[in-house]
Structure formats: C-alpha cells, structure tokens
Amino acid sequence: MGIKQELSHTLWITWKDLMELWRSRMRLVMMILMPLIMMTMMSFIFPSSQNVLSNIPIAVVNNDLGPQGAVFLSTLSNMDAAKGLITFKSALSLEDARDMILRGEALGAIVIPENFSGALTTHLYTANITVLTDDSNPQISQALSQILTQVIDGMSLMQAAVNVYPYAMQVHVNPIAIVVPYSAKAEGVVSGGGSYIEFMIPGLLMMNVITSMMTGLPRAIAYEKDTGTLVGFLASPISRVSIIAGKALGHIIRGLIQAGVSLALAIVLFGITIHGDIMLVVLVLFLGVYSFVGLGITLTSVAEDEETAAMIMMTLTMPMIFLSGVFFPIQMMPDFMQTIAHWLPFTYAIDAMRRIMIFGVALSSVATDILVLVAFGTVMLIVAIPAFEKAMTR
C-alpha cells in the first residue's frame, strides 16, 4: 500500500471524526467552554499572594500601659488603609483574641504587650508584639503570619530610624543606612512577568491538548469498539497505522483548536504576553500531543471497553497533571516527587512551553525537552502499533 493511499485513508478517518464533532454542536460548545471555565477558575483559585488576602479580620489587643501602643496601632491602620488588607477588631485580652479566632470571628490577632511604651522610651529592652494565627487554616495562617511580621518589622525599622536620627545627624549619615545597612531586591529576568497566571497558562495549554489526547483518543476508539463501528475500519483494506493516525490526527486538531482558544482567552482576558515565537509554541504543543499518541493507543489496546479506558486515563492523567508542575513549581515538591516528575514527559512539555512563552527562548534552549518528547512519543508508537493490531484481532 502506497504512502499516498495511507495518507488518504488517514485523512478520511480524521475527516469523519471532525465532521462528527462539527455536527455535534454541544460538543463544540463544550470544547470552547472547557478552557474558558478552566482558565478563569484556575486564575481565581490560585491568585498571587499579594491579592489573596483582603479585609482579613484581625483582633487587636492593646495591653500597653503608655501611649505608644495606640500610636503604633494608629500608624498600622493608616498604612493598611490604602491596601485594605486588614479589618481591625478590638479584643480585650490575649485570651479574648484567641477565643475570637476559635469562634471564626478573626483569622489572626496582634497583641501589644504592657511594656510597649516603656521599651520604646527607655530603649532598655525590646517590646515583643505577639502575632496569633488560625492554625486550622495553614495556608492563610502562613501568609498572614508572614505579612504581619513583615509589616511589624518594617514599622520597627522606621522606629529605629527615628531613634537613631539625632545621632546620625551629628555624624552626617543617613539614619536609614545605619538601621538597614543592606537590603535585597528581587527582579525577574523578564520585565512584567512573574504573575501566577503567566506561570500557569503555558501549563494549562499543554494540559488541555495532552488530556484531550490522553482521554479523548482512547475513549473515542473504545467507543467505536463498543458500538461496533471500528469493525468498519478493521474490515476495510487499510493499514492499522492509517486507523491510528486518522483517529490521532483528529484529536491533535481538536487539541490544537482548544489550545488556540485557550491562548486567545489568555491574551484577551488575562493580558498574557507570549515572549517567544508563536510557531515554536505551536510546535511544542504538537510535540506534546505527539508524545502521548502512542501511550493513548497502547492503553486503548489494554482497555476492554470505553469505561475501563476512561478510568485508566483518569488514573494516569490526574497525578501526572499535578506532578508535572502545571499548578505548582516542581521545586516546591519533596525530593522523591521531583524524581517522579522528571520521569514524566509531561514535565518536559510544560517546561519547554513555559520557557518559550515566558522567557521567549529559542528552539536550541529547549532542545532537551523536545528530544525527550520526540523520543518518548516514538518509542510509545513503536510499542502501540503492534499492541493495537494484536488487540483488534483477538
């Protein structure tokens, strides 16, 4: 059988799949809705740490016997007014503040000690401000504790600068330079980059196309097997490669359309900028899908029916999505998880896509990722074709 004929058979099978999709308006609508919902949801579920907290109810206990406690709280309130981070709630004592947290009326508390004014006026000891947080909510607790200690530390430095001002004036130096001799300023390698949505969009794009292939292809083949229509292809004088390629191509096109929709939504709705070459983005999307065609076909050959295929795909794709760094950087995971992640081709697809979209790197910079994807895809196809052939002639 000539290549031209095989290609023709492949394209007719792809045409059939796409026509079915086109005629099923509900499927078409869902294909566009899915990335929209997914992206909108993800961007709000995992927003950046700066805007995650607002109007956090914080209990305030002022045990200070002097005036400085009130001045401190007033300054804190003025500083917060612009950001609206905290809603201050008055509490009578440390126990009262703790009860408020337990009752869910506050997520944290700031307790000014009795000797606060004394410490500030005598400079003989440090006034320890206590910050209480809600341990039942570790993520909020951690973020709150970090923010409150940063604010208090900042205020402490300002106070220190005020304290050393007279001495600094005598020796003609900057009081801030005395209390803060050095500081760090973190900057990204790409200007304007670094938001969570920018981190997530490349991963989401890859996830859309790969899951479309991983779940869609085996399900589609298993469905045709169950309904008996696959027999029509198998009893026709066409090669098994044409059947696989035709079905896969249909899903690749669907995946790429979905990715295109996702990308357009990301640009329009979230102002995402693609720093790299758009053709390189398409290439990596294509290779990402290619690398999973063989796996999808192999699993189709293993699954007895559509339901089994769906269950196998779900079991494989869900951990893969979380392990490969779509939502969280791999570096935040424990060591053994990172090792697993490095064995997943999905990780390489996402890494390549992220570096192209965020850093705007050239093809040579993602050569390793691309090599892994091509190698994995090719090996899996070599395994998949005879497995499919065998499974279909049981």
């Binding site: 079915e20 009893a235 002639t393 049981r394």
Partner: protein
C-alpha cells in the same frame, strides 16, 4: 464449481480454555447463499470474524476468495463486504457521507463512487434520504444503508452477521429480498449467520449447523429436514389442559416417543418414531384421563433438526431434557421466537 471459501481445521481458543470454534472444516461454493446456524455462543460470529480477518485463528487455515486470512489479510478485505451484527454507521453523518467514507477507504475512484452510491441508494429505495443524517433514520432504514455500505466496492463475498436482528417484520422481509436479489442478479456469494430458522430456511442454499464451535451438520435445508421426516420421524403438537407430570412421564416412556418438549404448562411437542406414535400418544393420554384439546402432526423445521442433532434449540434457549442439566426445557426462551 470453484470454492470461494476453503476452511480447514480452523480453531479459535479464547484465554487458552474456551474453544469458540473447534476444528471446523468446510467449503463454500461461489454464488451460494450459505447459512451458519446456531444459538448465541455457538461460534458463528467468531467464525465470521476470523474469515473477515478481524480475529486471528489459534490454529488451522482458511482461504477467502483465494487468499489466506492471516498472511494475505488485506487482499481478503478487498474481496469481502461485511454487514456486522452492530451497524457500521455514524449517526452524525448523512447517508451519502457514510457511504462516501467507506468508499474512500476502499479506494473507489471519485468519479465512480458518487454514481455507485446513488445506484445503491436507488436499489434500497433510500435515494430521497441521501443527504439526511443517519441518526434520524429508523432501524430498518439504517440497516438498508448498512447493507449497501458493505456492497460499495462490489465484493465477491458478502458476510451478513444477523442482518435482521432487531428489525420489524416488514424491514426483515425487505432485507431478505435484497439479499436474494444481490445473490441472483449480481452473483454475490452470501455467508449468512442467523439464529432465525425461517430466515435461514428461506434464503440459504446450504446450511451449516454449528454447535459448541463445531459443525454439527451441513447440507441443504431440505436434506437437513429429511433427517427427521425421512427416517420415519414424526413431530406432534399436543395440548392437554389437565396435563400432569405423571402424564408427561407416561408419554416419555412410550417406545415410539424419542423426545418430549414442554411448550408451556398444557402443551407438548413430541418427537416420535414410526406410524404408531400418534396412536400410542393418544392412548397414553386417555389412559391417564387426559383431555386432548388438539393433537397435530407438524412439518419439521430447521430448529427441530438442530434440536434433534444437538439436543439444543438454535432459535431459543430450549434444551432437550437430559442433554443439558443447566437449562430447563421451556419453549419461550429469553430470545423469544418469531414464528
């Protein structure tokens, strides 16, 4: 006449245990309508799947249209048409698009394909629904399209696997008529699997009765039926409103009775031997105070032949007493009858 199918010792074993097809050997002549009969699970579909290259034999050989089903599978596929038990049609595509797709997969040239599709649509009186979606068709209409889908590339051999399953009587009749016309007018050899005996009887030139994966008998329908009637056999239908187990036992014990099948609580089908059988049965019923509503001598059907040969009905789940302890003899089986 030259055989179009040659099968020798063909065997299919599933999971190393289940012998779905067990050392089957037979030939099918060109231009025949050849019926494969047997109940569900007898091995008919597995045999068809192997002949259509959809399943690899465990052992044995088969040639279809002169090509080996394993080493020359693609050549076999070029010469056969398959109308499988489940319809090979896509509901979202129109009748024309469905036929176009499969025509293209058979490499039928563009200029020939359109004309051929229109001719076939005319043949099954579906031309006016050419551009309607298959999903909107009735089961009978779908099956007509499904049959012509198998004919697009003008195969020498058409496999019809339960072609009238689930169809209403009118649609079944139309499909049978179509099969007959294709065979007579175009000389297409037809391999028909069915568990409807009347269908096989009406259409087939020869029939192979399949039982537990083996060929239990192979002959023309008339010759197969002679195996009962031609050898002094008689089949009686008897209705006794006050039928008792004692009376059934009494009839069974008669020397001229070979088998008794309970049709329902008051009706029996009795397989007898010799001209005295009918008198013996009447005497036995009367001696036990049975009231006979009616008794009649009936013509044997292929199902009767199957039952006589295998001890099991091909059309229903009826099993002759004493031959299969797992099944109870009851005429109205799970699959029902169409007589």
């Amino acid at each position: 006449m030259q055989p179009i199918i040659q099968i020798e010792d063909l065997t299919k074993v599933f999971g190393g245990k289940v012998r779905a097809v067990d050392s089957v050997t037979f030939e099918v002549e060109k231009g025949e309508i050849f019926g494969l009969l047997g109940p569900n699970g007898a091995g008919k579909s597995t045999l068809i799947r192997m002949l259509c290259t959809l399943s690899r034999p465990t052992s044995g050989t088969a040639k279809v249209a002169g090509f080996d089903i394993v080493s020359q599978a693609n050549e076999v596929r070029k010469h056969i048409g398959l109308v499988a038990e489940k319809m090979i049609l896509y509901n979202h595509l129109t009748a024309y698009e469905n036929l176009m797709l499969f025509g293209k997969l058979h490499d039928i040239p563009e200029e020939t394909l359109g004309k051929r599709i229109d001719e076939l649509l005319e043949l099954v009186q579906m031309a006016r629904w050419r551009n309607s979606r298959v999903g909107d068709f009735s089961t009978g209409m779908k099956q007509r399209i499904n049959v012509i889908r198998g004919l697009l590339h003008m195969p020498e051999l058409l496999f019809l696997d339960e072609p009238t399953l689930g169809l209403d009587p009118q649609s079944s009749l139309e499909i049978r008529e179509l099969v007959r016309r294709l065979n007579e007018e175009q000389g297409i050899t037809v391999i028909l699997t069915t568990h409807y005996m009347d269908e096989a009887d009406a259409l087939s030139d020869r029939i192979a009765l399949i039982h537990h994966g083996k060929i239990a008998a192979l002959d023309t329908p008339a010759e197969l039926k002679k195996r009962i009637s031609g050898y002094d056999g008689v089949i009686l239908e008897l209705k006794v409103p006050n039928l008792t187990p004692d009376l059934v036992s009494g009839i069974k014990s008669l020397r001229s009775v070979t088998d008794v099948l309970a049709e329902d609580a008051t009706e029996l089908k009795i397989y007898g031997k010799g001209k005295d059988a009918i008198d013996d049965v009447i005497d036995e019923v009367r001696s036990k105070k049975g009231e006979i509503s009616y008794i009649r001598n009936i013509e044997p059907t292929l199902d009767d032949v199957y039952l006589q040969i295998t001890g099991r009905s091909a059309e229903t789940n009826v099993v002759r007493e004493g031959t299969d302890q797992k099944s109870r003899p009851h005429r109205r089986g799970f699959f029902g009858t169409r007589r």
